[in-house]
């Protein structure tokens, strides 16, 4: 079961058994984890909520300013831009990436010769995609005299400065995210292997063609995994930072067209040391991601099919 399936199971399962407990041993084994939870994860989450209601620049003590940070958000033009850029990025790149992942996973059929080679070739970009090196490469490739334009030139097409043009800069980052479809592809591959072959055999006997088989067998049985990939990739895409930072030289430009939410948060917090406002921004991000995830879970009732 996946992490999400696991959560579902916890919710649905019966109360714990009345067996003797190992509380002391558990405390010892979990000591680092508890410390991390308090100091590194949950503690800071709570602290950032408090900081969200303050004015704090790291030098003077934080000063409560009520809901000022949140009213400031309402009139923050760059925040609106950042939200718009991030939404477009998430809503376009994740579905396209998952569609590519599923299509490739279906092509890499059981028993295909050279499967291991293809799998590696398609997976490798996922490992490299978040590195600064690839962001550097992207900056060259989509530059005015970069690789893409050189190739277009050979075909007689006039290119443009994909990254310096505000109307195309975001698209280059979307392409980069789609390029890393290998990780969800591997999850799809494993999921496809779990669909019993006999379902397809039975469908074939009944005269169902491949298209019908895909819609009636593959898709429903794979839907929990599509859901898992969708939730994870959306959360992941909301957090993209490196590519936009390197490609735009940290500015989110041209004209804020690559100003990811995380990049804006970084600028407020770590360029201007406006820690109170950055904390408020961080909470808004958490609320947005939680809302997206909640909607996903709600919508799942209508299209995700659980066999068990």
């Amino acid at each position: 079961m996946s992490a999400l399936g696991e959560l579902r199971r916890i919710r649905g399962s019966a109360r714990g058994s009345p067996r003797k407990k190992d509380n002391r041993a558990a405390l010892l084994f979990l000591l680092p984890w508890f410390a991390g939870l308090g100091l590194i994860t949950v503690g800071p989450v709570a602290a950032s909520l408090v900081l969200g209601f303050t004015d704090y620049n790291l030098i003077q003590a934080p000063e409560f300013n009520g809901v000022d940070n949140f009213t400031r958000m309402l009139s923050d033009e760059r925040l609106y831009k950042a939200l718009r850029v991030t939404f477009i990025y998430v809503v376009v790149s994740v579905p396209v990436q998952l569609a590519c992942a599923l299509a490739l996973a279906m092509l890499l059929d059981r028993g295909l010769r050279g499967l291991a080679f293809y799998r590696s070739a398609f997976y490798l970009p996922s490992l490299l995609g978040s590195s600064v090196a690839i962001a550097v490469l992207w900056r060259q490739i989509f530059g005015a005299d970069g690789l893409v334009n050189q190739i277009l030139d050979l075909m007689g097409i006039q290119g443009r400065g994909w990254i310096s043009d505000p109307s195309t800069a975001l698209s280059t980052l979307i392409v980069l995210n789609v390029w890393t479809f290998g990780a969800p592809m591997i999850i799809f591959l494993a999921g496809l292997r779990q669909i019993p072959v006999m379902y397809y055999e039975a469908a074939q006997t009944d005269g169902a063609n491949r298209w019908t088989q895909f819609w009636r067998i593959t898709l429903p049985l794979l839907s929990p995994i599509i859901f898992f990939n969708l939730v994870l990739q959306i959360i992941h895409a909301f957090q993209s930072f490196t590519q936009a930072f390197v490609v735009s030289g940290g500015s989110g430009g041209p004209s804020d067209s690559t100003l990811f939410y995380t990049l804006y948060l970084y600028q407020r917090g770590f360029n201007s040391f406006d820690m109170g406002y950055a904390s408020a921004l961080a909470w808004l991000l958490l609320v947005i991601i939680a809302a997206f995830t909640a909607v996903n879970f709600w919508a799942a009732k209508y299209w995700v099919f659980y066999d068990d």
Partner: protein
Amino acid sequence: MTDLKHRPPPAAAVDAPPARHPLGVAKRLRTTVKHLGLILLALIMLYPVLWMVVSSLRPNNEIFRSPGLVLDGLHTQNYGEGWDALASPFGHYLLNSAIVVLACIIGNLVSCSMAAYAFARLDFTGKRMWFAIMLGTIMLPIHVIIVPQYILFSQLGWINTFLPLIVPKLLATDAFFVFLMVQFIRGLPRELDEAARIDGCGHGRIFWRIILPLMKPALATTVIFTFIWTWNDFFSQLIYLTDPQMYTVPVALRSFVDSTVNTSWGSMFAMSVVSLVPVFLAFLLGQRYLVKGIATTGIK
């Protein structure tokens, strides 16, 4: 478990037994077309990276004129220039990254395996709640906690040290690996623990003597993922390391880009290639564990 084992490398597809009837020919034709399509697609996917490697061996002016992969000669000067382009030789940043990565690996191995043992084998008060919280933290974005975390670490005087990068790993905050290991331990037969307990072993010894040796595949997956993720991690290293002496590879590479915009792509590519070599090696050596790790946390 799904079977994701390595298949043997393909014997040349042409050697397949001759088709006996028309249907076989059509099928073989379809397979051939499919392979051609897949190879073409793989080439397109990997082309940017291959081109970067080739371009790192070209003189600067040629990079903007040669979309192909054929080299006229080996222009290795880029590597020398790139190596010495920043305040310290690039080896210094490689070493910094190596220190951080190694410490993070050790931290994750120790802390996550301990937590995983508790979640998989021990029965304690509020276990289901803690487990749900642990799963929840997998999805918690680092950006939400970075501001207070930064304040905490700056008050401890840890800015421009590796501690803010390493200490969280010692405290099992990479919940992904806890979950991965819990899944693995659950798959081990409980009879082994029971037998050891009857022989008088406590939980410490069961964990150390029985569970840990058996969970080597999960530990290997953790090592490789931690290696690649920490090596590539940019956000937290950018925030915590501002002193050029403490720069790790991603931060150094980024400062390289900003200092030499559009002037020396050759040496920038050269150092980018250098920075990707460890990731590539980890991928080659640990491919099996990577694939298993993704597949098992996704599915089983």
